[in-house]
Amino acid sequence: MSLLAAWVYNILSTLFMFIFILLIAKLFLGWNIIKPSKKDYIIISCAVLSIIFPALMGAFFYTAGLFKKPLYIFEIITDYLTTLNMTLFMQSIFKKGWLKSWGATIFLCMLSNFSEYIIFIFIPGFQFHIAILHEFLLYILYSFLLTPLIEIILILILSKTEAGRITRHWINNYNNSTKKNILLSLYPATKYIANTINSENLIINKYSASTIITILIVNIILAYMEITEIQKQKLEAQQINIQQQNIYIKNLEEMQLEIHRFRHDYKNMMSGMYLSAKEGDIKAVQNFIQDMTSDFEHQAGSQIHKFTQLGNIHIMELKGLLLNKMELMQSKHIKYELEVLRPLLDTTFHRTDLCRCFGILIDNAIDEVCGKQNAYVNIMISHQEGFTTFRVKNTLYSEIDFHKIWLEGYSTKGEGRGTGLANYKKILERYNNVFPHTSVQDGYFIQELKIQE
C-alpha cells in the first residue's frame, strides 16, 4: 500500500470516528452541542483539518514498516496524536473543559477499540491482507460497518445497565483526581503492553485479548473508584443532613420555649382582660387584644414564619446553608427576613456552586451590617416559571467604590479579605444561564442572581 493511499485511508477513518464519537457523546453522555460563534468555527475547522498530521504520521510509520516493532513505540505515538486531536475536536464542539473532553475521548476510544477487537478474540493470528482486493473490501466493511454496529449495541447495553450509569457519572463528573488522570492518560500506551508478551501457542488472538483485557481492567478500576467516591459523597451528605437536623431541633426547642413563655404571659393577660370586660371597658379589651397579637408575632410568630419559608426550599444543601446563616445572624442580633414564596424544588445551577455563591453573598451582607444600627438583611428566593431568583439585600453603611468590589483583595474591612466577590465572579463565568445583578438602591446593597432553568 502506498503512502498516499494509507494517508487517505487514515484521514477517512479518523473523520468517520469523529462523527461517530460526536453521536455517542450526544446520545450516551447527553452532551449538548453549544452553538458555536465565529471564532469556534475556526477552531472546529482547525481541529478537523489537523487530522491530516497524525494520519500522515500513521501512514508513514505503516509504509515504512515501523509498526509491530518491539515496544510498539510508533503505534503509541500515533495513538496519542489522534487522541489529542480528538480531544481538541470534542472541546471545541461541546466546550466541557479540556480535562473532561480528554477523559471522554479516551473512554470513547476504549469503546471503539473494544468493539473493533472483540470479534477476533478467538481467532488467533488473524490478519487482513490488505493487498488482496476482496480482503481489503472485507476490511473496509468490517471497520466501517461491523465495528460501529457493535459499538452501537454496546452503547445500548451500557445505557440500560448500572455500569452505564456509573460510566456516565464518572465522565460527567470528571475532576482533577490525579489517580484517574494517570490511569486514563496511560491507556493508549497500556493496551500494547500485553502485546509484548511472547506467546506463540495461545488459542486466542493476543492483540485483541490484550487490548480488551486492558480496557476491562481500566474500566473496572474506574468504576470502583467512582463507586467509592459516590459512597463518600453520600456519607458527607448524610453528615450534613444530621447537622441540619440538629440545628432544626435546636430551633424548634427554642420556639417551644418561646411559646411556653407566651402561654405564661397570655394567661396573665387573659385574666387582666377578663377584669376589664367585666367592668365593660371596651377600649381596654381592644388594647389587650392588640397587645396580645403583636406580642405573639414578636415572640413566636416571626420564628414560625421563618421556618415556613425555609420549608419551601427542597434543595437540602441550600437549606443547610440558610439554616447555618440564619443561626449566625441570630447570634449576632441582626434583624433578617427570609422570603421563599413558592416551593423551590430544584435548579439547574450546580448545587455546590449555588451554595458557594449564595454563601458569599450572605456572608458579605452579614459582614457589612454586623454590629451596626438598624442592621437588616433580607434574603429572597423566588421561583417563577422558568426562572429562579436569589437575592440578598442589606443596609449599606460605608461608601463603596462600586466597580472596585469585584477586584481581588478589595474590601471595606481592611486587608486579608475581599476574595469573596472575585471568587463569586469566577464561578459564574462557567455558566451560561446565570445572570448576576449588583446594585445600590435607597441605602441598600442588593445582590441578585437569576437562573434561567
Binding site: 416571626s302 433580607n378 417563577q384 462600586f402 445583578h437 437569576k450
Partner: protein, 245 residues
Amino acid sequence: MLPVYICEDDYEILCIQKEYIEKQILINGYDMKIVVCSRHPEEIIETAKNSTQRGIYFLDIELKSEPMDGFGLGSKIRETDPRGFIIYITAFGELAFETFRYHLEAMDYIIKDDMEKMLDGIKQALETITKRMCMEKGGEQKKFFTFKAMDVIKHIPIDEIMFFETSGRTHRIELHALNDRLDFIGSMQELEEQLGEQFIRVHRGYLVNICHIGELDLKHKEIHMSNGEKCFFSRNAKKLLLSKI
C-alpha cells in the same frame, strides 16, 4: 381620573375600606374614583383589562376559596397595566413583601391586624400616589433604560449608565452604571440603535455614554470614566471620540 380597585375576601373589611377611601377622596379632592369593589379577583381583572388608564389597586393577599392569590392577581394586573399602583393589604405581617415588590413592583404593604393602622396606611398610600403623579406631571422626567431581564423588567436611569461591555459569552452584555452592574442578553447593535447619540461605539466590545467620559489615555487607548472605571477604544474610534468631547 384614576380608577381605584379593591379586592378583599372579607366582606366587612371590604366595606370599611371602600367607605374610608371614598371619604378620603372627598375630603382631599383626589382625582380618583372607586370602580370595582369585589371579593373575586376575576372581576378586578375583567374591569382592569378594559381600562386604558393607570389604576390604583388595593389587594388582599390571602384570597380564600378563590383560584388565585394576591400574587397571581398582581401578575395578571401587571400584564395590562404595567404602571399602575398596587398596594397589598394583608393579615400576615412579614409575608414576602420583597418578593412582591421585586416581581410586581408593588408600592406598599399594609397590615390589617389593627384597623386604625390599616386606615392610616391607606391614607398614606393615597397621599404618596398623588405626590408621585404631581411629580411626574410637573418636573423633568428622568429617562430610563428599560429592558426585560428574564422574568422581570428593569429600569436603569440612562444618565447613570457608564458603558455597555460585551462579555466573552455569546449575546451576553454587561451593563456598568453608577449604582448597578448587571448581565443581560442583548445585542450591541440593537442597543446602539435604541439609545441614540448619547452612546458611541468606541470599540467592538464597548458602547460608552459620552456624558461620563472623564479623560482619554491616547497612549494606552483607554477611556477613564467619571466613576473611575476604564474601558478601551479602537483606533477607528479615536477621531470620533475627539470630535465628540
